[in-house]
Structure formats: structure tokens, C-alpha cells
């Protein structure tokens, strides 16, 4: 049970830090809304509704990147990550706590973005929403690990998008498919498969990424 207690403590810490700093979450909200407005101007008149769902997913991925880029910054500022790694708990709890906190931020940002999307562009049905939620899990799981990897090196702001975008392709395929395809369940299965495979992989390999 201490594992879950560790995870809960870390998640709570991240949420508190973000709420006090009041920078990441408002930034993500504003970014996703501005992006949607830009997309309105970027789409030519008479372009299909289906294109709008593609743009929604681009907006989601880049908003998530914005949040993830800031994910490990609090831990790096005072050597907190090293301290956390030295604690006697399982290191993967650090990853899980970070993933859950990032997930909360992403879901909150989408709680604003999705109604805005419906207002500006096109309706979203239940499978589309399920797709968004499933993809969020994948984005946060993989993104937290990759952000930790990128943080180990130089030019970390450059590295994270480079590492993350190829891995986000199946998520975008699944998300857009769930929104527009008649056979949406297959895309949801794809997203669930991605989540299962990469969450387990990230959970297992986090320890190797943060230790020497």
C-alpha cells in the first residue's frame, strides 16, 4: 500500500505546485483556445468537418507538449528529482505520480477546449470523447517518460517534441478515427492497446532513465 501512498503524495504535490504557481494550467488553456481560433483562419472556406477533427487533435497534441515540457521543471530546480530517486520507494512511483498529475492538467484543459471546439467547429459524440480520454492516458504516460529522458540532456525543450511526435502518431490515428469513422470501436481498441503497451513499458523503464 505504500506504493499507492507514494503515488498519491507525489500527485498531490504536483497539483499543489501547479495550482500555486498558476502558470502551466492557464497557459495550456489559453494556448489551446488560441490554437483553435488560428485553425479557424487556417482552414479554407468550405473545408470538410472531418478536417476539423484533425485540427483538434493537432491542438491536443501540442497543448499536451506544452504541459509536458514543464512537467519535470519543479523537480529539476532544486535537485528534487535526485532526492526522490534516492528515497527507498519504487522509482516508478515517481513516474506514475507525474503521469497522473499531467493527466489532470490535460483533462482540465480539454474540459475547456472541447466545448470550445464544439462551439467553433463540429459536434463530438461519445466515441470521440472516449477517444480523447484514452489518448490522454497514452500521451501522459509516454510523455512523462520522454520528458524525463529529455531533461537529462541539453536542449531539452527541443528534444521533447522530437521524441514525442513519432510516438503520438498512433494516438492521433486512433483519436481522429474514433471521432469520424463509422467503425469507431476499432480505433478505441487501438488506443486501449497503445495505452496498455506503452504505459507498462514506461512504468517498467522509468527507473533506468533516472538513475545512473
Amino acid at each position: 500500500m505504500t506504493y499507492l501512498a507514494d503515488v498519491a503524495a507525489l500527485t498531490r504535490k504536483d497539483l499543489r505546485v501547479a495550482l500555486r504557481a498558476r502558470d502551466t494550467l492557464p497557459a495550456m488553456l489559453l494556448f489551446v483556445l488560441s490554437t483553435l481560433v488560428v485553425f479557424h483562419f487556417a482552414s479554407p472556406d468550405g473545408s470538410a468537418d472531418a478536417a476539423a477533427y484533425g485540427l483538434l487533435w493537432v491542438a491536443i497534441v501540442f497543448t499536451a507538449l506544452l504541459g509536458l515540457a514543464r512537467a519535470w521543471v519543479p523537480e529539476q530546480e532544486h535537485g528534487v528529482l535526485d532526492a526522490l530517486v534516492l528515497t527507498p520507494g519504487d522509482r516508478s512511483a515517481i513516474w506514475l505520480g507525474k503521469t497522473l498529475a499531467t493527466l489532470v492538467f490535460l483533462v482540465v484543459a480539454q474540459a475547456v477546449a472541447l466545448p470550445a471546439f464544439v462551439l467553433f467547429f463540429a459536434p463530438l459524440d461519445l466515441t470521440a470523447l472516449a477517444g480523447v480520454l484514452l489518448a490522454d492516458l497514452g500521451i501522459c504516460a509516454v510523455g512523462s517518460l520522454l520528458a524525463a529522458m529529455a531533461a537529462a540532456g541539453r536542449s531539452r525543450e527541443l528534444m521533447l517534441p522530437l521524441l514525442f511526435l513519432p510516438l503520438s502518431i498512433p494516438l492521433v490515428v486512433g483519436g481522429v478515427g474514433a471521432a469520424i469513422s463509422a467503425d469507431a470501436e476499432r480505433y478505441l481498441v487501438l488506443l486501449a492497446l497503445y495505452d496498455a503497451v506503452f504505459a507498462v513499458l514506461s512504468w517498467a523503464s522509468f527507473e533506468y532513465v533516472v538513475t545512473e
Binding site: 531539452r156 510516438l167 498512433p170 492497446l193 538513475t211
Partner: protein, 209 residues
């Protein structure tokens, strides 16, 4: 080695049936298969690194992925040439194999960016290893993702019923495949030796300073 390559290049031209442009199949498919194999080898070495902790696996994994990326670039190039002659376009988003390969190629290009951004040491070795493993996990997931749209254009020579070609063509293909695999192996050994030499030289320089 050279003999094997020469044989392959002379065997292939003997077997043209559908026309000259079909011959690129003998080069393109083995190179593609070898690229996948190199990525798999890189991931296997990466797993060994994380599992056994022996540092030499880092360099072996890196070289394998380097080879895989080079062969991947060749696959895309030869595929584009074939596409241009067969379909009239250099690229098509309709084929799932193309998109999967491009995704994988981009993924492994980012691998090098990752490696160059972290300073040498166990941290770099482990991060690279984890990333390489993510790559092979990406293959089936990407494949399934892209499979959800039907593959209409990329010709499939090997279906469930077996190779869809004459016996002589199949022989030529196998010879070529063996030759390309051998080429990849030789390049791998050469590059690995070169990189090890570089590293030893650097260590000696440091020691003598």
C-alpha cells in the same frame, strides 16, 4: 562478401519478367527487411544492456540502430523510385506500410538527436536503450493503427498463400536478401570496430593528459 554481392547483382538481372522497373523489388524488399532486422537487433542489444548492465551493449545497440536508419533511408529512397515509375507519384499516404515505415524512420532519427543531446555515460546508454525498446513496441502498435485503413496500393508479394512469384524469381530474391543481410552485417562489424577504436583512442588520450 564481395563475391556474394556480385552474384546477387548478376542473378537479379537474369530474372526480369514484368519489365525492368520490377527489378528494384530485389533491392527494395531485402533492404526494408534488413532495416527492420537492424532495429530489432538494436532493441535486443538495448534490452541486454538494461538487463545485464554490460556497457558494451550500448555501442552495439547504437551501431545496429545506425545501420537500421541508413537502410531505412535507402528503403524510402528505393521505394520512392519504384513508386515514381509504377504509380507516377513519389509518395502515397494510402499505403499503410509506407506510413508505418516513415513513422519508424522518424522515430529512430529522433534517437540520434537524443543521443547527441546527453553527455556520454551510463545515463545516455540507458536512455538510448529505453528509447530503442519503445521503437520496437511502436512497430506492432503502429502497424495496427495504420492497418485500420485498407492497404490498397503497396504491392504484396508475400501473401498467406506463399510467395506470389515464379521459383526462379524467388531464388533471386532469396540470394539478394542473403546478400543484403550479409552487407548489413559487414557494415555493422566495421562500424562497431571503428566506434570502439574511437572510444579507446579517446580514453587513451584522456589517460595520457
Amino acid at each position: 562478401m564481395g563475391l556474394g554481392l556480385a552474384l546477387a547483382f548478376f542473378v537479379a538481372p537474369e530474372e526480369a519478367v514484368e519489365g525492368v522497373r520490377q527489378r528494384i523489388f530485389y533491392i527494395h524488399v531485402p533492404i526494408a527487411l534488413t532495416a527492420y532486422f537492424c532495429f530489432g537487433l538494436g532493441a535486443w542489444k538495448a534490452l541486454l544492456l538494461l538487463w545485464r548492465g554490460d556497457e558494451r551493449y550500448d555501442l552495439e545497440s547504437y551501431v545496429a540502430i545506425h545501420q537500421g536508419t541508413i537502410f531505412g533511408l535507402l528503403t524510402l529512397a528505393t521505394g520512392a523510385i519504384w513508386a515514381r515509375t509504377s504509380w507516377g507519384v513519389w509518395w502515397s499516404w494510402d499505403s499503410d506500410q509506407l506510413v508505418l515505415f516513415l513513422t519508424l524512420f522518424l522515430f529512430y532519427c529522433a534517437y540520434f538527436m537524443l543521443r547527441f543531446s546527453i553527455d556520454e555515460g551510463p545515463r545516455r546508454a540507458r536512455s538510448s536503450a529505453v528509447y530503442a525498446l519503445f521503437g520496437v513496441a511502436l512497430i506492432p502498435v503502429s502497424f495496427f493503427a495504420i492497418r485500420l485503413a485498407e492497404d490498397l496500393v503497396h504491392p504484396t508479394a508475400f501473401t498467406r498463400e506463399g510467395p506470389q512469384m515464379t521459383a526462379s524469381m524467388f531464388t533471386a530474391f532469396c540470394v539478394m536478401w542473403a546478400a543484403v543481410t550479409l552487407l548489413a552485417y559487414v557494415l555493422y562489424r566495421v562500424e562497431l570496430a571503428g566506434k570502439r577504436l574511437d572510444r579507446d583512442l579517446r580514453e587513451l588520450r584522456e589517460a595520457l593528459r
